[in-house]
């Protein structure tokens, strides 16, 4: 047998605690795994609850009829029938709001994003980036408050589609600005240089070269921004309040799916409708999310 040392070893401090350290390590792993599983479980629970409770209320009427009033709902509940009506006013309202706010936010957001992309290093541009971050961090209810003061009070003198759209546009703006700048950064410099070398005027380089090349990134950003604002309730409470009918007048109130959910929640007769509308909203938002991720991954290899 050989002695296992040829040089002196540090005095007996090589604690023989391999076992306890290994155990500790394994224990920590179990705890970590547990918490991660808890998180997944909550997500699954929420989605499952929505599906289980909401599916039965969804039928063709759901998409084609407006929300019932509380009396109709009460009658239906008393006789055990499915509550009549649907959320057409909410769906139409949400789409209308989002369309108008896109008209505001998308062009503006893209242009600001281009500005930031073209000015990567100067102090003013950094300030603009910081302002964009501040804008993104403003709680949605505060945005609603401000737009109330601006539009509801001064412009339309009533809760209105316009107010709601402006609020949503403000919320979409930072997301679109950021994703535009990031997508443009991924376009190879050489493309831009080649265009300039051919004598292309600046604005054409932007419109014909930069934007098309970054197109999928831009779309991704826009879809993500849309999916974010479609779910917002708070700012709409203060700007467009809701409407029992479908309305196309910019200066009048309109409904939206999250607003309907809130309404149903607050009305004891309509509570069952809460689940179907939530399921619809969740599914819609989810589809947008998945769509944007799919587009992002598709166009990555060019």
């Amino acid at each position: 047998m050989n002695s296992s040392t040829s040089i002196s070893k540090p005095a007996g401090k090589l604690a023989v605690n391999f076992r306890s350290r290994s155990v500790k390590s394994k224990l920590f792993f179990s705890v970590t795994l547990f918490f991660a599983l808890v998180t997944i479980a909550v997500v699954l629970l929420i989605i499952a609850t929505l599906i289980v409770k909401g599916l039965r209320q969804i039928n063709l009427d759901f998409f084609t009829k407006v929300a019932p009033d509380t009396f109709q709902a009460m009658m239906a509940n008393a006789s055990g029938a499915i509550i009549p009506g649907g959320i057409l006013n909410g769906i139409a309202g949400s789409l209308y709001l989002v369309a108008i706010s896109s008209i505001f936010a998308i062009p503006l957001g893209i242009v600001i994003g281009i500005y930031l992309y073209e000015n990567p290093k100067n102090k003013y541009a950094d300030l603009i980036r910081d302002i964009t971050d501040i804008l993104q961090g403003i709680p949605s209810i505060v945005v609603g408050l401000i737009v109330y003061l601006w539009v509801v009070v001064h412009v339309t003198q009533s809760y209105s589609v316009l107010a709601g759209s402006v609020a949503l546009a403000i919320m979409m703006l930072p997301l679109i600005i950021r994703s535009t700048e990031e997508s443009l950064k991924m376009v190879p410099e050489s493309l831009k240089e080649a265009a300039f070398a051919l004598g292309t005027p600046y604005y054409k380089v932007i419109l014909r070269v930069l934007i098309p090349s970054a197109f999928s990134g831009l779309i991704t950003g826009i879809l993500l921004a849309l999916s974010r604002v479609l779910g917002e309730t708070a700012p709409l409470l203060l700007t467009t309040l809701g409407n029992s009918a479908v309305n196309w007048n910019l200066s009048k109130p309109v409904s939206a799916v999250p607003l309907l959910i809130w309404q149903f929640y607050n009305d004891p007769n309509m509570v069952n409708l809460v689940w179907s509308s939530s399921l619809f909203l969740m599914a819609f938002v989810l589809i947008l999310n998945i769509l944007s991720k799919w587009i992002a991954s598709k166009k990555r290899i060019q």
């Binding site: 997500v43 401000i146 003061l149 969740m282």
Partner: protein
């Protein structure tokens, strides 16, 4: 006309517009708060009296400031182990595996769920559970609202942490393993010190998000305009009092609500700035 110049002006102009927009937002909040400020001054921040009865109105934001801080801090405390564990699973233990994909997709799903739906789930699923295990009478309050808020901010806390942990160079971990460290010891002594500030920044940003959350909190906190007395007490947050009382508020009442909005604006801006500053420093 030089098209190049026009293009540049348009680009610059748009950035200017953003500046003016944000400045205008701040200005409007200040302007709207003025009448409340004239009546109550700085006491507004320290008084918890909130009484809208006409003729004898007293407004003080302390109850809401306290409610906001209580709920958000509690939410952060609950969220940290969840977010940290999720990050470790995705970025370290199960890195690049299908399981990490499942976990990170779940977290992405979580991020996409609208606030009002969290509120519904909290109201119909979580609250009865809390009542049934006897923690609270009605199930409303800081505790319930805080729990739901915690789940809502987990995605914000994990997304940044994931990339920070992934960036710790492999060679450092290998060096530690070669010295006989267990996995936990590698996480504690190598990954954490190198990822510390990035992870802290992500929690700060998540905290900032929690401060402004409205719908889910409104549905669960009990809407009592009082100084919260304990973890299971009901209360109100700045965001939820605005949502609740806005509909009927006029005059000084409305101005007080706007002043609260201004407070929220400032507090969230500062917290987010701190978070971003930490990120910049570590880059």
């Amino acid at each position: 006309m030089n098209s190049e110049k026009i293009t540049r002006y348009i680009l610059f102009g748009s950035s200017l517009f953003l500046l003016i927009l944000t400045g205008g937002m701040f200005y409007s909040l200040v302007e709207g708060s003025l009448s409340s400020f004239h009546v109550f001054g700085w006491r507004f921040l320290f008084s918890s009296e909130w009484d809208p009865t006409q003729g004898d109105q007293h407004f003080g934001a302390l109850a809401f400031i306290a409610g906001t801080l209580f709920t958000s801090v509690f939410a952060l405390i609950v969220a940290i182990p969840l977010a940290f564990s999720t990050s470790l699973i995705v970025a370290e233990y199960f890195r690049n595996s299908w399981f990490a994909n499942v976990v990170s997709t779940s977290v992405d799903l979580l991020a996409g769920i609208p606030s009002v739906i969290f509120g519904l789930w909290g109201f119909y699923a979580l609250r009865p559970f809390i009542v049934s295990i006897g923690l609270s009478h009605q199930g409303f309050g800081i505790f319930t609202a805080g729990l739901v808020l915690a789940i809502m901010i987990v995605p914000y806390a994990t997304s940044l942490s994931n990339s920070i942990i992934l960036m710790v160079p492999n060679e450092l971990k290998e060096a530690a393993y070669s010295l006989g460290a267990t996995r936990l010891e590698v996480i504690w002594n190598v990954i954490l010190p190198n990822a510390r500030s990035g992870i802290a920044a992500s929690y700060i940003l998540a905290f900032g998000r929690a401060l402004g959350e409205t719908m889910a909190v409104t549905m669960l906190i009990g809407n009592a305009n009082i100084l919260p007395k304990g973890l299971f007490s009901t209360g109100n947050t700045m965001a939820s009092v605005i949502a609740n009382e806005f509909g009927d508020a006029t005059g000084v009442h409305l101005s007080a609500l706007i002043e609260i909005g201004l407070l929220l604006f400032i507090i969230t801006a500062i917290i987010n700035a701190i978070g971003k500053l930490i990120i910049k420093k570590t880059a």
